[in-house]
Symmetry: C2
Subunit: 420 residues, 2 copies
């Protein structure tokens, strides 16, 4: 086996643990210097490959690379940039191969969601077609937990933990205040299409009466009357009501609730998220004082409260990607395989990219209670291990110490520029 370089890129929305995958990948590649020369990272994801803007990760110390394990976000930059189909935009794929050829890249590692797995699959095909064989391995990443085959997606477990911890804490607060002040708390979480993240909030409720009392899933058409009735029941029974709402809930007309709120005096669409809409609805009907929060990026960047399981799996998948590539496996993605629930045991497996690409894993129907406002025991059994364990970053002066890499550019070899 000849020694060749590797290319690694981060794609799409970043997470608290995507850098842990990068860490696993780079540390493992460094252990196989006889087979893998340098690991070049794409600056700002695949755009870095197209524009020949590569980062030489060999310029980073072992310590910096190790620190990626506890650093949120995408250390090399990510992008929202989907390559079109092979037929539609062959030039882009040809350009990729051209860049890879110029830098003797024999391994293509792409760390992202469904679209990215599709891209990795296509790069593998075009490479073969153009007579430049390249080993393509996808690495799963998405807070949305919507990739198929793999038991779960790195990034999700940490968001899940953040959401469960946060709603528990906020609910304790509201419970203290409910006698004379706030009785309603609404927390908006990510998940435009699937309710995985909202469901994770349900982990905070371990016994009857625990918060959250209501979860609003994008899978369930929002029933205003039933919802308002349930809110009132909760307040009468528990003194307050804590709600987790997915940003993606829709009304019976199929509109996102977040967008159905109307326009302000300047004619702008409602600026707020769905949390204030839901909170105001309760106020209008029942008059209860409310508070609401929109966690937004805080939830997916919250490395300080990352799930240890999630960090370990993210690292393991980065490592497994290199191991698969070294075994000559092409057009594949390492996966998480659940071996048992109690005790929780897992290992890594492998899936074909063709089976992963562009397939969205939705929440099973039997994960949501019949009334549509909670999670079932089956859902809890699935989710629970994913938030297990803490993996605190190091602190200095009260703040987590996250690494910023040097990100030294690899000298360009091609004369032709490529415009995105």
């Amino acid at each position: 086996m000849t020694k060749r370089n590797a290319f690694y890129a981060q794609s799409g929305g970043v997470t608290a643990v995507i850098n842990a995958s990068a860490c696993g990948l780079i540390e493992t590649a460094r252990k196989h210097k006889n087979k893998i020369g340098k690991v070049y990272a794409g600056r700002n994801g695949i755009i870095g490959a197209l524009t020949e803007d590569l980062i030489d990760t060999s310029k980073e110390t072992a310590r910096s690379i190790a620190a990626l394990r506890h650093t949120p976000s995408g250390a090399f930059g990510s992008c929202r940039y989907k390559l079109k189909g092979l037929e539609e935009d062959k030039a882009q794929y040809e350009r990729l191969i051209e860049v890879f050829k110029a830098h003797d890249i024999g391994y293509f590692f792409y760390n992202g969601g469904g679209d990215s797995q599709d891209t990795a699959n296509k790069v593998s095909q075009i490479g073969a077609k153009l007579g430049y064989p390249i080993t393509c391995v996808g690495i799963p990443k998405t807070v949305d937990n919507d990739l198929p085959i793999t038991d779960n997606c790195p990034g999700f477990g940490s968001v899940a933990k953040y959401v469960a911890v946060s709603i528990r804490e906020a609910a304790f607060d509201v419970a203290s205040m409910a006698k004379t002040s706030t009785k309603i708390f609404v927390m908006e979480v990510m998940g435009r299409h699937a309710g995985w993240i909202a469901a994770a909030g349900g982990l905070a409720a371990e016994k009857k009466g625990d918060a959250p009392h209501i979860i609003l899933f994008p899978e369930i058409v929002f029933d205003k009357a039933a919802f308002l009735k349930r809110v009132d029941q909760c307040v009468k029974k528990y003194g307050y009501c804590a709600i987790v709402v997915s940003e993606g809930i829709k009304n019976p007309e199929g509109q996102f609730l977040a967008e159905a709120g109307g326009r302000d005096s300047f004619g702008h669409a409602q600026l707020g998220g769905v949390a204030p809409v839901v909170a105001q609805m309760i106020k209008d009907e029942h008059g209860y004082k409310y508070h609401w929060a929109v966690a937004d990026y805080l939830q997916r960047a919250a490395r300080h409260i990352a799930s240890k399981t999630d960090v370990e799996q993210a690292y393991a998948l980065g490592k497994a990607a290199v191991q698969l590539a070294l075994k000559g496996q092409n057009a594949v993605m390492p996966t998480i395989v659940r071996k048992s629930n109690k005790p929780y045991k897992w290992t890594t497996g492998v899936a074909k990219l063709s089976a992963v690409a562009n397939v969205e894993k939705m929440m099973p129907k039997n994960y949501i209670t019949k009334d549509g406002f909670g999670i079932t025991e089956r859902c809890r059994t699935y989710l629970q291990p994913l938030i297990k364990g803490e993996d605190y970053p190091p602190y200095k002066n009260g703040l987590p110490q996250y690494v910023v890499l040097k990100n030294v550019a690899v000298p360009k070899k091609l004369k032709k520029k490529f415009t995105i």
Copy 2:
């Protein structure tokens, strides 16, 4: 000294560490059983005293009381209920004394902000007047950090840490995405009158270019043009711009920006907070893609990322309150006294309630940079020690284990009911 019972109540908005003060107070009282009989807590704050709804904390195990140290919120319930002036509503004060007399309460501990210190002071006066001497000690608590004399207020340090950690993490996220996607992140924090919490976000910026790039303080009239110009400069220089905005910022007309956004199609006032207003303003002017977050209760309930300094000080003040009372000091409040900055050293001191009551400590002018968008070194020197150290709660199944007390009611002795 005769053995008498103590009354303790939590007041106003709760914090991540007010229960640590309760813990310090109860644990210390339990060590002086020869002087302090039982500690009765007011259910839902002072309302519990007025309605003779007392909680017998002696029914709680030592383990449960110890767990208060790591449990956010108000374990006995709090309330937003301000007693009026002595002349205005003497009946309420007389009722308090009546309840205290019925339960042989010789110590009144009131854990809250400026209003609460005022109430504690008045109870002390009326007690003497009505021939029922009672030792009144206030315990400082407020995330707003606006009490005078004490170096800082328990509750603030933990919010400060949450805000600094969160903006650092979210900014790492935005920096990764900025090439093709989100360039602006706006995080709204509490602080309607004083910018202490917003200022704390500034701790995340340790060197030039670090986020947050802009802080909007309630002390500074919002200058839209200067702000938008600065945002653009940041994006051009750093690729993105991370902003911390206080909920209390006002436009030159003196309106809260959060309320100036207009009305929706149903005629409701703008539901959102100030973060979406500011974010949309940037979008309208520069076209940059934005994300925004409103942390709301999450920030003050976030015991999982509490400041160790804050927890220790909250506990110490609860303990000091009992010690002061046992020394016969009346109408006082224990304080935090800063001995040195580097290394950070502190001790507890004492202030007269009359000097604390209804005095608001604003941020010194020289804590804000001349351009109005950042904090000075002097501010950093003050804030930095307050977020120092981590004090993680215990976890089980991936979730922090917070205690819910039994809160057993003390049998009522008075026949007369009191209506709030």
